[in-house]
């Protein structure tokens, strides 16, 4: 026995030591200046791929575009660009590049980096949902559609009939060009394509394509001037264009890393960054560690050496970490709303209003919601005040999509108000037999708060319409997927503005927009949006946008606004840098510091 015990302990110690060497305890629970949690695991760190708010916070830490923001998190200032020059008519921007701008591997950041990165997006070499961000550039949309048509033609064999019809209608017909006409005609061959409707569509697309000369990338409104500056030409002047240049999608990516590693280029050890921080560690669904980038042109102003970002699901863990001093800053996704009541009066609880709206998307491609009357019935059957009351976060109920915005507010439509009698009348007219009413799935995130929301909505709809809805709670990435492929009836959605203008809410609903996700398409609406993008008079622009908003809210009713979310963060007193007002809900680590 005497011999067994020490032998046992020795074996145990040896095994554990081996495992530690293999990384068992290597989870970054070590010295970090700032420990934050923003909630879920980012889908990717590739600026061209990401669409979410959480992901964009990492982007602003790791990369920098031509334009970035001042410490107030709101005023655009030159980023990689040394200066911002705008032509008087607002259609041409010139950006000289800072000579001291460097990637973390030492190579200078050049205009060529931007051109290559934007070309990568337009040519569909990366999965980009936000490609519309580049459409203000002259010729960008046409070029992208041409490239997309190529991709679709190559993948035609693997697509089923619905996909083919969708592709033909939204891309091939409006966007194919002369060189693709022959390919289209070949696909319309009866031996290849069984469906006569599709054959007709393909032939029509081929005829249309034949009339359009091909577009080259050189025709897109971006070029490099002899002195190395980047010159961008737009289709029309856009008031919020600087926000677009600062946006994640337009940030540069390091060509050498992307070409060497493919999709894996964003991993620690492979990633190359031009922002204030570099990615040091990434353990999936656990933590991300950022380390100061000494080659960043503004490195002397970055006061954090290492930042730990814990990846947490919903639930109270984040709050518990914060209370126990294991986190210094948490945002709303991590502090459940159930627990706000006792926190509200604390000095470290910092609420702020943002330019965002919570609403329900309606899937217009499937019954019952392919009928606008039913959509309107549902919209009028929900008492937004009861919904906001259950959430207990101080949310403001709303019937409008665009949050209060100076100037626009006066012309904004009212939306559909709560009117259960009218709702029932509409539904009786459209689908009188409730027994045969199709199953409605409510897509939501997998958090307790969303379950509460579901229960309230279910209660409202059952009481006022006599219809039952089922819950489908999913985690962030899967929830996005389900929305993307239209696998839902109603979906909880939350849109935070990409730039400080009502257009960011209204232009979501264009045909084929990556963030549309309702399957709704209206050419008249698309036309109004295009007009608004080139309209320089603010009043007329607002009127156009209001007309669009009325279309999506009242006439077509493809979404049901619920409430204006309240954002808040909890910050330990030692954390400095968070602005008083943060309308665009940014978190620029570059300006944060921790006081000892």
């Amino acid at each position: 026995m005497r011999r067994i015990a020490p032998g046992f302990l020795l074996v145990v110690a040896a095994v554990l030591a081996t495992l530690v060497a293999a990384g068992a305890l290597d989870t970054a629970e070590t010295a970090s200046d700032l420990r934050v949690s923003w909630g879920p695991e980012p889908e990717s760190l590739d600026p061209a791929v990401v669409t979410g708010v959480v992901e964009s916070r990492y982007l602003y830490a790791l990369f920098e575009g031509l334009v970035t923001y001042a410490p107030d998190h709101n005023t655009p200032i030159p980023g990689v660009a040394a200066a911002i020059r705008r032509s008087p008519d607002g259609r041409v921007y010139t950006f000289p590049i800072r000579p001291e701008a460097r990637w973390s591997n030492g190579r200078p950041v050049t205009a060529e980096d931007f051109v290559w990165s934007w070309r990568r997006i337009l040519e569909c070499r990366v999965k980009c949902d936000y490609v519309t961000m580049l459409f203000p550039l002259r010729g960008a949309q046409a070029y992208h559609q041409q490239c997309l048509a190529d991709v679709l033609l190559r993948g035609w064999r693997g697509m089923d009939e619905t996909e083919r019809r969708d592709a033909a209608q939204t891309v091939l017909l409006p966007g194919a060009r002369a060189p693709q006409a022959d390919g289209l005609r070949a696909l319309a061959d009866p031996a290849v394509e069984p469906s006569p409707a599709l054959r007709a569509l393909l032939l029509a697309a081929a005829d249309a394509a034949a009339t359009r000369p091909p577009v080259r990338f050189e025709d897109v409104g971006v070029r490099i001037l002899p002195d190395g500056a980047l010159e961008v030409t737009l289709e029309g002047a856009i008031p919020y264009m600087l926000d677009v240049f600062a946006f994640g999608t337009l940030m540069p990516v390091p060509r050498e890393a992307v070409e060497a590693h493919g999709e894996d280029w964003i991993k620690p050890g492979r990633i190359v960054c031009n922002g204030p921080f570099v990615l040091e560690q990434w353990r999936p669904h656990y933590a991300i560690v950022l380390r100061r980038n000494p080659r960043y042109h503004g490195a002397s102003g970055v006061r954090l050496d290492r930042v730990l970002s814990r990846i947490l699901d919903s639930g109270a863990t984040g709050l518990n970490y914060y209370e126990r001093g294991m986190l210094d800053a948490v945002d709303r996704s991590v502090v459940p709303q159930d627990f706000i009541a006792p926190l509200r009066d604390r000095p470290d609880f910092r609420p702020y209003t943002t330019f965002s709206c919570a609403f329900l998307r309606i899937n217009t491609t499937r019954p019952p919601f392919d009928d606008p009357r039913i959509r309107r019935a549902f919209a009028m059957a929900i008492d937004k005040r009861a919904v906001a009351a259950v959430l207990q976060g101080g949310e403001q109920p709303t019937n409008r999509l665009v949050p209060p915005c100076p100037g626009y507010r006066d012309v904004q439509p009212d939306g559909l108000a709560f009117d259960p009698a009218a709702a029932r009348r509409l539904l009786d007219a459209a689908w009188p037999d409730r027994e045969t009413f199709p199953r409605v799935e409510f897509l939501m995130r997998n958090t307790p708060k969303q379950k509460d929301l579901y229960n309230v909505l279910r209660d409202q709809i059952e009481r006022h319409l006599g219809v039952r809805i089922d819950a489908k709670g999913q985690e962030w990435q899967i929830y996005l997927d389900s929305m993307n492929r239209g696998d839902y009836g109603l979906a909880y959605s939350n849109w935070s503005a990409d730039y400080a203008d009502p257009a960011t809410f209204v232009d979501l609903w264009v045909t084929g927009g990556g963030n549309n996700r309702t399957g709704w398409s209206d050419p008249e609406f698309d036309r109004w949006i295009r007009e608004s993008q080139t309209e320089t008079d603010t009043a007329r622009r607002h009127a156009l946008l209001a007309r669009c908003e009325r279309r999506v809210l009242e006439e077509a009713c493809i979404l049901i606004p619920l409430y204006l979310p309240v954002e808040y963060v909890m910050l330990k007193p030692k954390v400095r840098g968070f602005p008083q007002e943060n309308l665009m809900d940014r978190f620029l680590l570059r300006y944060f510091r921790v006081e000892r």
Binding site: Y322, P448, N455
Partner: protein
Amino acid sequence: MTEARTPLQMAVRRFRKNRLAGVCLLLLALAVAASLAVPAVRQPSGAGAERIAPGAGLLPPGPGHPFGTDAIGRDLLPRVFEGLRLTFAVGISAIVLSLALGIAYGAVAGYCGGRVDSLMMRGVDVLYGLPTIAIIMLAISVFKGYGDLLFAAREGILRRENRFLWEIALIAVVLGLTSWLTIARIVRGQVLSLKEAEFVEAARAAGAGHLRILFRHIVPNLLGPVIVYATLTLPAILLFESLLSFLGLGVQEPNVSLGLLLDDGIKRIAATSLNWWLVAFPGTLLAAVLFCLNVVGDGLRDALDVR
């Protein structure tokens, strides 16, 4: 002169002497009764029709709600017992399946003996050595998703209200599949020894066929050990059902199970408001039921003098 007692009477007498087991048996009976009665009394219209009281969320135990309320104001007391009812229902179904499978397999193996027995028991050994539970979780996930597709019709067997039954049946079946191994082993051992017993010889001499001998003579004599091990396996099954619900593979909202309540409760334990009742009541009830089952099982084992 003392009356001769049947083995059964002797067993009952031994069991009754075990006061702890007796108390536990009583508690279990109470729990079963409560799980049937309480939800019916406090929620006559069934699951999903509970009053949603937005202002009454997350209240600690108090008048009107002795177990507290959950986040949207639902009284926890009937929900806990309804969860218990579901857990029991699933558990009983699973154990019945387990028994059927285990007895059949073990009896055949034990009776045939020799190479057949060796092969069959090798199979059991192999299954023991695998992460069966993990594979079964995958199976549940696959078939659950299919259930969503299957039960989309508006009427008939496949109407969507019956999806709930599909989930329950699925869980009961897979739970049964995880637990039959031990019973098979026990039964096989018993059959091996019983095979040589006198009454079997007699039956064989009387010309009875193998199947008849097996199922009319041997199996009834297995009842003792089988009951004991069934009682001891039931806690494991109940535990596994709760585990599945806790991990999200069991029933979904608005149906309720103890595991689901615990899952929800854990997510709401915060430093600023502990909400301890959300975990304490379902957890204590579950632990108490498991404890009672274990004690009763041990008591039965002692009473029936089974090793």
